[in-house]
């Protein structure tokens, strides 16, 4: 039982991103910072444990959980049927609209406009899975191992467009990169959930309880204000 | 009881049978010379006696103990049987003294002072007491071969095997090695020598063994065999050697 272990050892091991601003990226001291990190810290505090942050990539975060390397995934994780077969999800803790972004020079208003274009996406992310469902095979999808790769590929012009979260694109825009990821269209509203190992009932209850409390007492809203510069959506 | 007794030794390399049933006995203190044409199996037989070649069939008895061909641990045998090679095979990274001391230390587990004393004694016996600290590369071929003899002697074997130990030497260095062997023979060491030095064999050995095609086809006192060979093969071999 994971909860038992956490309370006994007083350590909460959380998989967080370090290549996915504003959810998680590195500061000049190489320490992860962002929405997910603050959420993890919040959870740990409520559980009376110390937080141990484990940087992961989109592609490998699920194996981290299924192989027991971490207790939770707080890594802008979207929910889908495939994932629900192998892990459990908490209530949503962050908003996330994924969409297709790119510089103004590239025209793309609907999914159909993607035909013949090169789109970068992070392998195994919700964007990857959702986009793969709706596009035709005329779209040239490049799947990168992690968001570092995806973003680098977009910024260096190796792909014309990038599929990612709206807030991620916003965070990049904020840093005035050489190529601007402006919104083309949104693909899916897929809020972020915390991932847990299967059959960890007590831990799931605990996490959901903490999230519910955080939503009411405004501590989650504070995190949203800080990282997304927007209030927490009502429907979350 | 003979010190070395070989019965029906057989050995093949692949399809080629090199030893075709060899019987031989050597008594304590005997000095035996093995002669024969190149390829007749002399080296193979000698190497079988201390287990460097694993025989296919037959029994080797040394000092009353049997070594049957399937035996795995040859250590006991090798402690009783010393061997000196044509190519000296000194350990190049060790000095003469260390060459002699190595096996005393790691195999016989002798203490340090005894090891040193034994090595000094063995080197003195081959006339190289003063070369204790010299490395093989600093020694002449004849000196290297004498160190090799000392190295075997120090292990106090019951019998010493020598395979053409002078063949790799320049002619002027042959005698210094032969005189060491002669001294050993005089002191009563049991020796089995493969040699092409016929005059030496005649003078020093008690027993001559003539190998031909993987078999011993004549044996006896050297003078006898040389002067009255009873097979045409030996007669031809003697003629050939003396013509040189």
């Amino acid at each position: 039982d994971a909860l038992e272990r956490i309370t006994k050892e007083k350590v909460l091991r959380v998989a967080v991103p370090q290549d996915f601003p504003p959810f998680g990226s590195v500061g000049t001291d190489m320490k992860p910072v962002g929405y997910d990190i603050d959420t993890a810290t919040l959870l740990a505090k409520e559980m009376g444990a110390k937080v141990e942050l484990v940087p992961v990539t989109s592609a490998n975060r699920v194996p981290y959980l299924t192989t027991g390397k971490v207790d939770l995934i707080i890594s802008s994780l979207g929910k889908n049927a495939e994932r629900e077969k192998v892990i459990d999800f908490s209530a949503a803790y962050a908003p996330f609209y994924n969409g297709v972004f790119g510089p103004d020079s590239v025209k793309a208003e609907t999914v159909a406009d993607l035909d013949g274009k090169t789109v970068g996406v992070t392998r195994g992310s919700v964007e990857d899975i959702e986009l793969s469902k709706v596009i035709s095979d005329k779209v040239n999808v490049r799947r990168y191992e992690d968001n570092n790769g995806t973003i680098s590929a977009f910024l260096s012009g190796q792909v014309e467009l990038v599929a990612t979260g709206n807030v991620v694109a916003a965070a990049i825009l904020e840093r005035k990169p050489p190529r601007l990821p402006n919104l083309k269209f949104l693909v899916k509203n897929s809020p972020c959930f915390i991932g847990l190992g299967k059959d960890e009932g007590p831990l799931l209850e605990k996490v959901n309880a903490i999230l519910a409390k955080a939503k009411t007492d405004g501590s989650l809203a504070a995190i949203a204000e800080k990282w997304l510069h927007a209030p927490l959506p009502k429907d979350l | 009881m003979p010190l070395v007794k070989l019965s029906n030794i057989r050995k093949s390399f692949g399809p080629v049978e090199v030893l075709k049933g060899v019987d031989m006995t050597v008594d304590e203190g005997q000095v035996v010379a093995m002669i024969g044409r190149s390829g007749s199996g002399k080296s193979t037989l000698l190497r079988s006696i201390n287990g460097l070649e694993r025989i296919d069939d037959g029994v080797i008895e040394v000092d009353g103990e049997c070594v049957d061909p399937s035996q795995i641990d040859l250590r006991a045998l090798r402690l009783k049987v010393g061997m000196v090679f044509q190519q000296f095979n000194l350990f190049p990274h060790l000095s003469a003294g260390e060459n002699v001391m190595l096996a005393l230390k790691v195999v016989k587990k002798m203490g340090k002072p005894e090891t040193r004393a034994a090595a000094e004694q063995a080197l003195a016996k081959v006339g190289l007491g003063h070369k204790f600290d010299a490395y093989p590369s600093q020694l002449s071929g004849g000196q290297q071969q004498r160190v090799a003899i000392a190295r075997s002697l120090a292990m106090a074997p019951k019998v010493l095997l020598c395979d053409e130990i002078t063949s790799a030497l320049d002619p002027e260095l042959v005698n210094e090695v032969l005189s060491v062997v002669r001294k050993l023979a005089e002191e009563g060491m049991t020796l089995i020598l493969v040699t092409h030095e016929m005059r030496f064999a005649r003078e020093v050995c008690d027993q001559l063994v003539f190998m031909h095609g993987g078999r011993i086809i004549e044996q006896g006192a050297p003078a006898e065999l040389f002067d009255r060979p009873s097979t045409p093969e030996l007669a031809q071999f003697v003629g050939m050697v003396e013509a040189r």
Binding site: D19, V26, N148, R175 | -
Partner: protein, 216 residues
């Protein structure tokens, strides 16, 4: 918050280089010890051991280090063996290193003349004693240059561990690239750091080789 100066980039990369060095040293030392064991098995006069060692070498020289890493990292836990990036990286690099070193050293052992084995056999030494006292001391001399040369491959091999999230130079390089949008500069610096680590090793391997040839 995310303004990286050139110095920030360089200092972070250099700090990460510590882990590259540490991992290299661990892999090299542990790989050396394991390689020695594999070497013993490979040259021991025991056919099943030889076969096993051959298989081991074939396996780790015949598959990508990346796959070995993935298996050590994601697959071993399924068998109930816990692995952190540290341990997986160390384990995979050790296996990789040992296979190559065992093969390099086998060549050196085989360069020791057969007569040395025979002479030591005749002095009643067993296999272990022969290796310890006669063969290895001679093989060691010729093994030094290629071993130092191979250490370069180990240092470079650590770059692959970035892919399982081990925060060495390459990994930190990718992270900084994403924070600074300066891939040309960052990867250029990363390359230079590796060069600074590896080139002295390459040079000394060459110098050692020349010395060995001159000594012969």
């Amino acid at each position: 918050m995310l303004e990286f100066s050139l110095w920030d980039i360089l200092s972070n990369l250099l700090l990460a280089a510590r882990w590259t060095v540490a991992l290299s040293v661990i892999a090299f030392v542990a790989g050396g010890v394991a390689g020695l064991l594999v070497l013993f098995a490979r040259v021991a006069p025991v056919p099943p051991l030889q076969g096993a060692a051959k298989l081991y070498i074939e396996l780790f020289q015949g598959t990508p280090l990346l796959m070995q890493l993935f298996i050590a990292f994601f697959a071993l836990p399924l068998a109930g063996i816990e692995t952190s990036p540290w341990t997986s990286a160390a384990v995979a690099l050790t296996l990789f290193t040992s296979a190559y070193l065992a093969e390099i050293w086998r060549g050196c052992v085989e360069a020791v003349p057969k007569g040395q084995w025979e002479a030591s056999s005749s002095l009643a030494m067993n296999f272990g004693e022969q290796m310890r006292w006669v063969v290895l001391p001679q093989a060691l001399r010729i093994a030094v240059p290629p071993t130092v040369g191979f250490s370069v491959q180990v240092v470079k091999g650590t770059a692959v561990t970035s892919i399982i999230g081990f925060a060495e130079v390459t990994k930190v390089g990718t992270a900084i690239t994403n924070a600074t949008f300066q891939p040309f500069l960052v990867y250029g610096l990363v390359g230079l750091i590796y060069f600074a680590l590896c080139y002295p090793l390459s040079l000394s391997a060459k110098a050692l080789e020349r010395k060995l040839h001159a000594a012969r």
